[in-house]
């Protein structure tokens, strides 16, 4: 990110901030949608993030940390969005328009649906570390830097999140011919 642009926005230059906002939008939205799993909630979270970013930008001491800092803001906005709304628990509907569906593709859709259900049961805190680590491919240290928490905390939080996700998926899969399977119409 352009240091000069950040510095200008810190000094109250709205046009510089708008350039920053446009440049940052895609990656902020990616995190928000990854965590919240809902387009409208992600839009709201990003908008909230941009306003907070403007408000708090003068307090950012090192312009080089802008990107990591903005991840922290969007994760916090996701917390707020999840707190203020129940939309985030909604599962993104599967894309049912594609046909014909090959057997491999069917398994993939089924697998994704299981993950979606499992992920929807995690706390926002756990979702955030998973998204930063496995969607954005940040290292543990980079996630720690973004969330301003120790690397050890990231590692343990990630471990707990993955364990819970696996447990949630297994719990969903346990009853044979469960409601979710019938609803999907996927033969076992």
């Amino acid at each position: 990110m352009d240091r000069e642009l950040v510095a200008r926005a810190q000094r109250g230059d709205e046009s510089a901030f708008e350039t920053l906002a446009v440049a940052s939008h895609a990656r902020l939205y990616r995190v928000a949608r990854g965590v919240l799993r809902d387009d409208d909630a992600a839009d709201d979270a990003v908008q909230r993030t941009l306003v907070q970013m403007w408000r708090k930008l003068p307090q950012l001491r090192d312009a080089d940390r802008f990107e990591a800092w903005s991840y922290r803001l969007v994760v916090n906005a996701c917390y707020d969005e999840a707190k203020g709304s129940r939309r985030w628990t909604r599962v993104i509907p599967l894309d049912t328009h594609r046909a014909p569906v090959a057997q491999d593709e069917l398994h993939r859709v089924e697998d994704f649906d299981e993950l979606e259900h499992g992920f929807s049961r995690l706390s926002v805190e756990h979702r955030a570390v998973i998204v930063l680590r496995y969607l954005l491919d940040l290292t543990t240290d980079q996630v720690a830097d973004a969330l301003d928490i120790p690397s050890g905390t990231v590692a343990s939080r990630l471990h707990r999140a993955m364990t819970e996700l696996r447990a949630a998926i297994e719990a969903d899969a346990r009853p044979a011919g469960s409601a979710s399977q019938w609803a999907k119409g996927v033969p076992r």
């Binding site: 510095a7 200008r8 810190q10 000094r11 109250g12 230059d13 709205e14 901030f17 708008e18 906002a21 446009v22 939008h25 895609a26 939205y29 990616r30 949608r33 990854g34 387009d39 992600a42 839009d43 990003v46 908008q47 941009l50 306003v51 403007w54 408000r55 708090k56 930008l57 003068p58 307090q59 001491r61 916090n76 917390y79 707190k83 993104i92 993939r108 697998d111 994704f112 993950l115 979606e116 805190e125 998973i130 998204v131 496995y134 969607l135 491919d137 969330l147 301003d148 928490i149 120790p150 905390t153 939080r157 990630l158 471990h159 993955m162 996700l165 696996r166």
Partner: protein, 276 residues
């Protein structure tokens, strides 16, 4: 240890379900609409080097909207348009001189200069402390160290637990990333409270230290805290009282309180138990 195959499955799913924003430009435009009416929060230590408004970055209307700061609130002061980039500008020097003159005038007017035995102003109650109410949130980001738990006669003591909070208050003196060392005494058999704790918070401007009491409602109800903190460093001479509520299963404490000059008055002796 994280299962790499499971991690790869998660990664594949996240990427497979990744979608771009539907109307990114509209979203940015909506945010910019809000930004026009949103004031930036400057650092409380405004006299230290840092980002400053430049000519053209803030128009006069923006400056008009900036309310003048009060010392009790510790808010930032809008830097003058086209101000110098040196640490000590002429404007600041004039402000500093005016402040010193005011302090000198107040010192001369102190009751201590009055003749011994005089009555009147010396006997009058002290000026009320300068009060600055505030509100905001403390978000628990992590428990970095769970500390040590020791059994006691009355329950259990939890020593040196370390928390990280993000503070978002409308008073900059309590803002920033707070790292808190907590000693926590709880009555046995209670997953909630009551509990007593010590708290230490620090940020760029100084630190706060104090004690608090909390209880949680029965049946898994949320926490209710009251904490009294004394300022240290840059906040020397200030006291903060925080009342906080933490809803069930929430990492966010809703806090309101007041920062004031001086300390709490001493507790009075117990009142008489004789009733008319």
């Amino acid at each position: 240890m994280i299962d790499e195959r499971f991690a790869a499955r998660i990664s594949s799913w996240l990427r497979g379900s990744d979608r771009p924003a539907r109307q990114p430009n509209d979203n940015v435009a909506r945010a910019m609409g809000q930004i026009h009416q949103t004031r930036q929060r400057r650092r409380w230590l405004w006299f230290l080097p840092g980002p400053r408004p430049t000519a053209g970055a803030m128009d006069e209307q923006d400056l008009d909207q900036e309310s003048p700061p009060t010392s009790s609130q510790g808010r930032s002061v809008p830097a003058p348009i086209g101000g110098t980039t040196t640490m000590i500008s002429a404007t600041k020097m004039i402000g500093l001189a005016a402040s010193l003159a005011l302090v000198g005038a107040l010192a001369l007017a102190l009751p201590a200069n009055q003749p011994e035995g005089s009555v009147g102003p010396a006997a009058a109650p002290a000026e009320p402390a300068e009060m600055a109410p505030f509100s905001g949130t403390m978000r628990t980001l992590s428990i970095d160290d769970y500390g040590e738990t020791v059994a006691r006669d009355w329950g259990r003591a939890l020593m040196d637990q370390q928390w990280t909070f993000e503070h978002d208050f409308d008073d900059e003196r309590l803002n920033g990333m707070g790292r808190s060392r907590v000693n926590d005494h709880r009555i046995t058999g209670s997953s909630g409270g009551p509990k007593s704790f010590t708290l230490y918070i620090e940020n760029d401007g100084g630190s706060w230290v104090g004690t608090g009491r909390a209880y949680s409602g029965v049946n898994g109800g949320g926490w209710h805290h009251q904490t009294v903190l004394s300022g240290q460093g840059g906040y020397e001479g200030l006291t903060a009282i925080l009342a906080a509520d933490q809803p069930v299963q929430s990492s966010v404490l809703e806090v309101s309180g007041v920062v004031f000059t001086g300390g709490l008055p001493p507790l009075p002796e117990a009142a008489s138990t004789d009733f008319e």
